[in-house]
């Protein structure tokens, strides 16, 4: 649950999570084991195809939503179910209270339902004097603790056996040992007595099949089967997004859902309920059964050209499982009721901007969620878009506004960067790090030494660089991005040498500016579009085969976001697509296009490892190219654990949430140090900044370089 009033309070809450060592350890172990079991569960299949099948099936529902609802209703009613539509949470709760009243139900048992969490159903029922018992073990535990879930699939993952033992001691009035087997048995017996006396059962539904009027429930414990069988009344509450046309569509989702959620091939139970089943304790031996189909913002979402893809969400929870921020702070801080990447989005639609405004900023844009999503939803983009909407409505905070203003004007921006060089003079050390941080703003940035702005940016050096490429095999336009231009021009120079040695001619259009990603991250949509336009224009007249950038984030942003940002005018879009088609990251170019091999290098066998930037491995799908190049260059390559997990830089994220950024970084550096590497390479200047700063703080001797630098230094001349 999110009750923080402002970013400051929210950050304080997160610090508490960071200090919770049990939570940290539990989520760490989970992050690693989840990946392994998921990979096993999908081993026999083409995951991308299965995800595409889910996306396709769900997308097909959107234009037919109303029609499918009517079909579902008709078929379910023909089989004896009463189908209700609820436009919002209050209406749904009121319907259920009413059913309880009409049937004289006093004691209610529930199986797990995120939708019921969404409507805060338990509160409503209790307010009307009804006794509600959650029967899913995790849900029961958090109900007894008066907490919300901290994960969509494992609601009590934040609690230890000791806490559960103490809790059960209170419940049973007898001392319970912290022994998981025994605690589960205690729950079995205690809850069985609740099943026996219940008047009404409430469940959610994973599928609502229009063709047959059937609901499908996907569970592991078996409680949902008892909930739907023992009491004479059954109410199933489901979002309208659970509608699917046919059983086959439901089976497509079922194929992915458990595998993606917990790495199980299938859950222990999948229950298909059609109509008013036999119930021997009911007066006419038939179950009194109700389906409540909930809107609560979903229909509006379905109409939205961007957000309608949220309908593909099958609530598998995987986007939390892989989220580095979730891993650090847990679900109570990374969501309101829905957790993880999808939680940041749903909170806005279901619970309003007030609950969403802080948490939505807590995304590092690493794309891990997008990569794992069972429905192929572009989660990071939607999260940013929610951020934009909130800011546009509630006003932009000052730093964000300033950044927008400055970046809109390239010359002003670059002048500021140039003068920053003078501003930092008195405090800059002579080793390229600022000794003290000049700005109050960066107070908590102390965990890593920040770099200084270079004497001369790459754009000034470029004209002085000699290119004697006679008959170039290729022409390349260099896109530097701000960090390489103004902070690490030497990385650009290294790439320049390497390319020149490979007979490549280069240009550097001076009108290029920041790629615009930081603006996007700050929720400045308008300026982000302006800057994109500037860059497309800057390269328009260049006669080049490729546009190469050494920054994975720039590359991914140029390639994937520009066509979206500049989509409204077909003429401009055409130019944009011509531009993006040429964009390529450094390693892919050096490896796939230039084809650099062992014979091109004189290696020295130094132990080296690689940090894979988020926007390289997930954003661009590049995995092998940099590693192959490092090996070819004659370095002793050592793969680090979790080499594709975010380093915590995330651009503006590290300024907003320094304590989280630090925690990410520490984990990363521990893994790097474990390899015994002397050189740490990566393909993004932002990551270099983060990693260099962190290692410097540790007093480590490990050298951090852009891959281009390591390759250029080992390139044999004259071939």
């Amino acid at each position: 649950m999110q009750d923080a009033k402002n970013l400051k309070e929210y950050r304080k809450e997160m610090q508490e999570s960071l200090d919770n060592t049990f939570l940290r350890k539990a989520l760490d172990t989970f992050a690693v084991t989840y990946r392994a079991s998921r990979a096993r569960a999908f081993a026999e299949f083409d995951v991308d195809q299965l995800v595409a099948d889910v996306a396709e099936a769900k997308d097909a529902v959107l234009p037919r939503l109303h029609e499918l609802f009517l079909e579902f209703k008709k078929n379910a009613e023909a089989a004896g179910v009463k189908v209700h539509f609820a436009k919002d949470a209050d209406e749904a709760n009121a319907l259920i209270v009413d059913i309880a009243r009409q049937t004289g139900s006093k004691k209610i048992i529930k199986s797990k339902s995120m939708t019921a969490e969404e409507t805060l159903l338990n509160h409503a029922l209790e307010d009307h004097g009804l006794e509600v018992t959650e029967t899913d073990l995790g849900e029961w535990i958090i109900q007894l603790r008066h907490e919300g879930p901290s994960h969509m699939v494992m609601p009590a993952i934040h609690l230890s056996r000791y806490q559960v033992g103490d809790l059960f001691t209170d419940v049973t009035g007898a001392k319970q040992e912290p022994d998981i087997e025994k605690l589960v048995k205690v729950a079995r017996r205690e809850l069985r007595s609740k099943f026996v006396e219940a008047d009404m059962g409430i469940t959610g539904a994973n599928f609502a099949i229009a063709d047959t009027g059937t609901i499908g429930l996907v569970t592991n414990e078996g409680n949902a089967r008892l909930v739907t069988t023992l009491p004479p009344v059954h109410v199933a509450l489901m979002g309208i997004d659970k509608l699917v046309p046919s059983l086959t569509d439901a089976l497509k989702i079922l194929k992915v859902l458990p595998r993606n959620a917990t790495g199980q091939n299938i859950t222990s139970y999948v229950t298909w309920i059609t109509g008013a089943n036999e119930c021997l304790s009911a007066t006419n031996k038939k179950k009194d059964i109700h389906f409540i189909v909930l809107d609560n913002g979903r229909l509006e979402m379905a109409k939205d050209p961007l957000f309608s893809q949220v309908f593909r969400c099958v609530r598998c929870g995987a986007c939390a499982n892989v989220c580095p921020v979730y891993r650090l702070v847990g679900g109570h801080k990374m969501g309101h009721i829905y957790i993880g990447a999808i939680g940041l989005i749903l909170t806005y639609f279901f619970h309003g901007p007030e609950k969403a405004k802080n948490i939505v900023q807590n995304c590092i844009n690493c794309e891990a969620c997008k990569d794992i999503c069972a429905g192929g939803i572009d989660l990071p983009r939607l999260i940013k878009q929610v951020h934009v909407r909130i800011q546009d409505k509630e006003g932009h905070p000052l730093p964000s506004l300033l950044l927008g203003q400055v970046m809109k004007n390239r010359k002003l921006f670059h002048t500021l960067l140039r003068t920053a060089k003078w501003a930092q003079k008195p405090v800059a050390g002579n080793d390229g790090f600022m000794r003290h941080l000049p700005m109050m703003f960066f107070k908590e940035h102390d965990f890593k030494a920040l770099p200084t702005v270079a004497e001369k940016p790459f754009r000034d050096r470029f004209t002085e660089l000699r290119q004697d490429v006679k008959n170039p095999r290729l022409r390349v336009g260099l896109f530097s991005g701000c960090v390489q231009d103004f902070v690490y021009p030497e990385q650009m120079e290294a790439a320049f040498q390497l390319f020149a040695d490979s007979n490549v001619a280069m240009t550097f259009p001076m009108a290029q500016s920041c790629c615009g990603l930081p603006l996007q991250m700050m929720g400045e949509a308008k300026t982000s579009r302006d800057v994109a336009m500037q860059n497309v224009r800057a390269f328009e007249k260049e006669n080049v085969d490729y546009i190469i950038t050494l920054c994975a984030s720039c590359a991914s942003h140029l390639k994937h976001n520009y066509p979206v940002l500049l989509a409204d005018d077909p003429k401009i879009l055409e130019k944009t697509l011509a531009f993006t088609a040429k964009v390529m990251d450094f390693s892919s170019f050096a490896h796939d296009i230039l084809g650099l091999k062992e014979q091109d290098f004189a290696g020295d066998g130094k132990p080296a490892t690689f940090h894979s930037p988020c926007h390289l491995c997930r954003g661009l799908g590049v995995h092998d190219a940099p590693r192959d190049l490092i090996k070819a260059a004659g370095l002793d390559y050592r793969e680090a654990d979790e080499s594709e997990v975010c380093c915590g830089f995330g651009g503006t994220f590290s300024a907003k949430f320094p304590e989280l950024s630090e925690a990410h970084l520490n984990k990363k550096l521990d893994n790097v140090e474990k390899t015994g590497a002397e050189v740490l390479l990566t393909d993004c200047p932002g990551c270099v900044m983060q990693l260099k700063g962190g290692l410097k703080k540790r007093g480590s001797k490990i050298v951090v370089q852009h891959t281009a630098e390591a390759l250029a230094a080992r390139r044999k001349k004259g071939n």
Binding site: G80, G222, R225, L247, I273
Partner: protein, 214 residues
Amino acid sequence: MTMILDKDRQTALTSRFSEKARAVSAFVTEVASFDEALAYTVDLCGKQGACRIRISGCEEHLSPPADALCELKQEKIVAAPGLDPVLYDRLLAHCAANGFSCIKSGMRSYLSGIDIGFTVADLAIAETGTLVINCPGEELRLATMLSEYHVCVVHRSTIVEDAFAADQHMLKYLRKTPDYTAFITGASRTADIERVLALGVHGPLELHILLLED
């Protein structure tokens, strides 16, 4: 020739099914006849100790209402609702000879639990090691939920490749309303406390699958 191919295919499906079911801790055994299946069940109840007067969890320190429910069960019980009457009589005879009671209805009198639920699967899905049990009747449903051990006979010929291959059969069930159809894969499980796997949280503690040649 096709006969042989079919046989090979069925053998492959059966071994895949067994492998997947075992992977989720089901016990899979081949039986040559229905009598062998009945003998297995009675043996499980008696020699293997599946049947106990005291039901699992009742040895823990419980609250008074939960404790009181434990008293409901005073005998060793095998339930087989929905079983073919001839087979049921044979099971009944086996149970009587061993001093267990055998029931085919009245499950609601045993809500604290019974020892063994004996069922026959309608279909089985190889890809996931799943049993498909069509159970619109409440007694059969409860037998698969309230039993400590679930023993289920699978005719080899009913094993299909994946859920999609069961689609048409499933639709037959779903359209004959009202309907309740269950996919059952392994024992009831939870990992809600510290993600440690524990079997038998609400449903059966063990699932025994008997593969029957037909």
